[in-house]
């Protein structure tokens, strides 16, 4: 590998670059579509990969490894962010800025997906959108394949039921 990272030799810059957009999308999903927070999470994820604290051993795909790192950093980031938000409420009278909201061409699906438990949403996104296998999604989320399979099928059945009921 010609462009491997010094502290993570099995990770190449070019491979990371190829995963960048997908990793950012995953970070956005884990931060409630907050672009600023997602950038922070991804930046922190790259940092721990670059300095070798998150070490890629080649037991999975790089994509699986990176998505797992992003998930762990996002969880830590969320805990820190909640403390930061509490501080802001105490120290600032200025309201938080509102995010732009674009028209949704399939609001029924959006409502149905947002009503799912978080873990089920994550599994759907990883498997259907990010093209992970159930086994890879289990590695990313650090849960068993059986759990992923259950979440996956329950989520789809729930969506089918809700959308079917809505169509009638």
């Amino acid at each position: 590998m010609t462009d491997g990272l010094p502290h993570n030799p099995l990770v190449s810059r070019s491979a990371l670059a190829a995963l960048h957009e997908a990793a950012y999308a995953w970070a956005r999903s884990l931060t409630d579509r907050d672009a600023e927070a997602a950038a922070d999470v991804l930046q922190q994820s790259y940092l721990v990969v670059v300095d070798g604290r998150a070490q890629f051993a080649g037991h999975s795909s790089l994509k699986t490894f990176l998505f797992g790192v992003v998930r762990r950093i996002a969880a830590r980031h969320r805990r820190g962010r909640l403390r930061g938000l509490a501080l802001v409420r105490r120290l600032s009278a200025e309201p938080a800025t509102e995010r732009d909201i674009e028209p949704d061409p399939d609001p029924a699906m959006s409502r149905a997906i947002h009503a799912l438990p978080k873990r089920q949403r994550d599994v759907l996104e990883l498997v259907i959108y990010a093209d992970f296998t159930l086994e890879e999604a289990a590695t990313v989320l650090d849960i068993s394949v059986g759990s992923v399979r259950t979440h996956y099928h329950r989520a789809k059945q729930t969506l089918r039921d809700r959308l079917g009921a809505g169509d009638e």
Partner: protein
Amino acid sequence: MSDTDLDRRIRAHFERAAAAEAPDFEAMLTSAQSASPRRRARAWIGAAAAAAIAAAVIVTIDRRDSSVDDAALMAELSASTHWSAPSDVLLADIDGSAYLGLPKFNDLRYRMQEVKPWI
């Protein structure tokens, strides 16, 4: 609805949700690679640039490392981020941690890196 149609609608939902331009990869990775060991050794910045609220970025500093004093930390951060302490900085102590409210400069988030405790 067929399984294929359901998957297509789910995929389309996530595609719309993900539709946003990613930050520049090279800038992010280069910044991560350039975080100096000396800077990392000064203190621990937990969740860097955690909240984009009002016009500030909130940085949490864990005070477990008692060898780091505010003035030294300010100087260190100021040197690496271009903002001028203390006029641009809001510092508060809550529950044993220090919180800095920093002006949001374009390059700030990519320069604020984790800084490990002094060993």
